[in-house]
């Protein structure tokens, strides 16, 4: 739990996902598998045994035909800031510091070689963003050839999760360094694979604290919200939807409570 070193530029990477725009096509999921060497098996429908760093959930408003509405909610790791900044629910519980909050980027890391598979972090994460390698990964018949050297393949018995494609950040930082502009990384230079893959432009990624970045503006949208915000996990992933029922689907409300974005209208 280091504080940020003085010579590094502070960033706070995060995502804004427009739920009203997401078509549920799952390009983000597949792009992520491919980018991050996520393994697969022949049986994948039991989602609680399946490795998905980003999962696209289908939400319905529950109204009957033909007033039904459907939205899709892509959910990566939320890279929570935590109740107390720098202490996401999963980080403080990890007994072996195998997952950590990276102060210079706000990214929650996962060190596969350090993790010994106690799964306490999974119990701590309310989003099911973390997955365990129940099996040894197998890439049949030459498929090992498509693995990227930028992300290490995981072994059986460790927890893995979305890293906001941290290796891309490292590559961008290296490039910037070699080009003589250390710490100057453009918004375009570091984008996650899912953001880049989203064919409908529903995902935006960048530095939440940098006013020049798109996400900085988007997160202030009147209809922006976060998933399970009331648990005080302070996620770095924001969502936008103009639909009230989607807001209701994103957090828990007692009878009579109204999602914040709609509280004014109701009053």
């Amino acid at each position: 739990m280091q504080k940020i070193p003085s010579h590094t530029k502070a960033r706070h990477f995060g995502m804004v996902i427009d739920v009203d725009k997401c078509t549920g096509c799952a390009s983000c999921m597949v792009a992520c598998y491919s980018e991050n060497n996520v393994s697969f098996r022949d049986e994948e429908s039991a989602k609680m045994l399946s490795l998905n760093w980003i999962m696209v959930y289908k939400l319905t408003n529950g109204e009957s035909f033909p007033d039904t509405e459907v939205c899709y909610l892509p959910q990566p790791c939320m890279h929570c800031d935590g109740k107390e900044f720098g202490k996401p629910p999963c980080v403080s519980v990890c007994p072996a510091v195998a997952t950590d909050f990276d102060w210079p980027t706000g990214i929650v890391s996962q060190i596969y070689t350090r993790c010994f598979g106690c799964r306490y972090c999974m119990a701590a994460c309310p989003y099911h963003a973390r997955q365990f390698n129940w099996w040894d990964p197998v890439w049949p018949a030459d498929m090992e050839k498509y693995l990227s050297p930028n992300v290490s393949a995981r072994t059986r018995g460790v927890v893995e999760k979305c890293s906001f494609c941290y290796h891309r950040f490292q590559l961008a930082r290296q490039k910037a360094y070699h080009e003589g502009r250390p710490e100057e990384i453009g918004e375009d230079e570091y984008q996650t694979a899912c953001t880049q893959a989203c064919p409908s432009g529903a995902i935006t990624f960048g530095d939440l604290d940098n006013p020049e970045h798109e996400v900085y503006k988007l997160k202030q949208d009147r209809y922006a919200f976060r998933l399970l915000e009331r648990l005080n996990t302070n996620p770095s992933v924001y969502y936008i939807s103009k639909r009230k029922w989607v807001h209701r689907m994103a957090d828990n409300y007692l009878e009579g409570e109204v999602p914040a974005a709609f509280a004014e209208n109701e009053a």
Binding site: A96, C115, A124, N252
Partner: protein
């Protein structure tokens, strides 16, 4: 003349009968060993755990077994620190029970981690903010303390006593047992608590999350308190069970009654505290995250409000009230019925704090996650019972566990 391997002045059954008695336990052990081979060999896919149930039967078993094994620390506390003489008549048994419980808990933990070969990272790369680190440290050290506490009992075997060094060693260790016991109590207090802290700190899990004192959630104290209350009852119950099986009186009723009285008051205070905690959680903590009490107890096939009533009323207040009344204690059946209820209550508590915590849906579009353990999990969870039978049988046969046995069985 050869010295008998049995403690002085007691009768023991024949060797063949003894082996026959142990056979079923060994059979269980064998199956469990096979299950362990499967799990360590092929990985945790051999269980029914999944990403929703990263913690499952084994973690529950750990929590329950350690809490019940807590009889060792609380009896030790009573015997060596508070100087309650009567408790010394059962302390050896409590220690050995604790030893079985703790070693089995560690074994199950070793089985439960995905990369057992890296298990020691918890010490090497310790994150001291993690309740699990605290558990691991205290548990391991306390297991050491239990062994140290158990050594003199082993040394009291007549054959070993013949070796002068061991004779002196057992004597000397008895002399300073209070030091070990005090250390054990200190360690045990923390790890019983940190086991409670394990679910209590999960602020992403509103079913388990509790506010608290400094870094400790209320569950930290509740777990310690409940283990202290129910642990001795478990020791007493197991002792009574040994009596029934051996057909001998081993401990005087007054010892049982004393333990029951202390436990009864501990249980009563605990269950009052637990009720207050539940009320605060149900009315303040959980609603602040948008959950009503009933949202944790509806829309699923298992976890109804009955479980809360069972835990607090039927297995909490009821046994507590029985145990604090003299009449209740003096009726042996009632006493042990109450003890059984209290033990069940404790197990329910540990179950819900682990399993229901994970089962309850958080995202409104999630559904309840249900789980049933695989045979590998079940058999390894039964394994501590088999090991307990074997270890206690051996100890009872060869070691002077019960100072009152000779007197009670002339």
């Amino acid at each position: 003349m050869t010295t008998s391997a049995f403690p002085e002045g007691v009768k023991r059954c024949s060797g063949s009968q003894f082996i026959l008695w142990l056979l079923p336990a060994f059979l269980v052990l064998l199956i469990a060993a096979y299950a362990m081979f499967r799990v360590w060999g092929f990985g945790l896919n051999q269980t029914n755990m999944n990403d929703a149930y990263g913690f499952a039967l084994w973690i529950w078993a750990d929590l329950a077994v350690i809490a019940l094994g807590g009889g060792a620390f609380f009896s030790g506390f009573l015997a060596y620190i508070m100087g309650v003489k009567q408790v010394k008549n059962i302390i050896n048994f409590a220690v050995i029970l604790g030893l079985v419980c703790y070693s089995m808990a560690l074994l199950l933990l070793g089985l439960d981690v995905g990369q057992p070969l890296r298990g020691w990272f918890i010490f090497w790369h310790a994150n001291i903010h993690s309740m699990l680190t605290e558990v691991a440290f205290c548990l391991t050290i306390y297991l050491g303390v239990l062994i140290v506490e158990f050594i003199p009992v082993i040394l009291e075997n007549p054959k070993i006593q013949r070796i002068r060094f061991f004779h002196h060693l057992s004597h000397n260790m008895h002399e300073i047992m209070a030091v070990f016991a005090a250390t054990g109590v200190f360690l045990s207090f923390f790890h019983q608590g940190s086991l409670g802290g394990v679910p209590g700190v999960l602020y992403g899990r509103p079913f388990a999350f509790r506010e608290g004192l400094f870094i400790w959630p209320w569950t930290f104290f509740l777990f310690t308190w409940s283990a202290a209350a129910v642990g001795p009852l478990f020791t007493a119950s197991m002792c009574r069970l040994t009596e029934i099986i051996t057909g001998k009186r081993l401990v005087k009723d007054e010892v049982y009654q004393l333990l029951a009285k202390i436990s009864g008051w501990m249980l009563l205070t605990y269950i009052i505290a637990k009720s207050l905690d539940t009320i605060y959680w149900a009315t303040v903590t959980a609603p602040s995250a948008g959950f009503s009490l009933m949202s944790f107890y509806t829309n699923n096939p298992l976890y109804g409000i009955w479980i809360l009533i069972a835990e607090i009323v039927i297995c909490g207040f009821l046994p507590a009230l029985i145990l604090i009344t003299q009449k209740g204690r003096e009726n042996r059946r009632l006493l042990f019925a109450a003890a059984a209820l209290a033990i069940i209550g404790l197990c329910i508590n540990r179950w819900v704090m682990v399993l229901q915590t994970l089962a309850a849906p958080l995202k409104p579009f999630d559904e309840w996650f249900m789980y049933s353990p695989a045979w590998t999990e079940v058999v390894t969870t039964i394994m501590p019972v088999a090991v307990g039978i074997i270890v206690i049988s051996l100890a009872y046969r060869y070691l002077p566990l019960f100072p009152q046995e000779r007197e009670l069985n002339p």
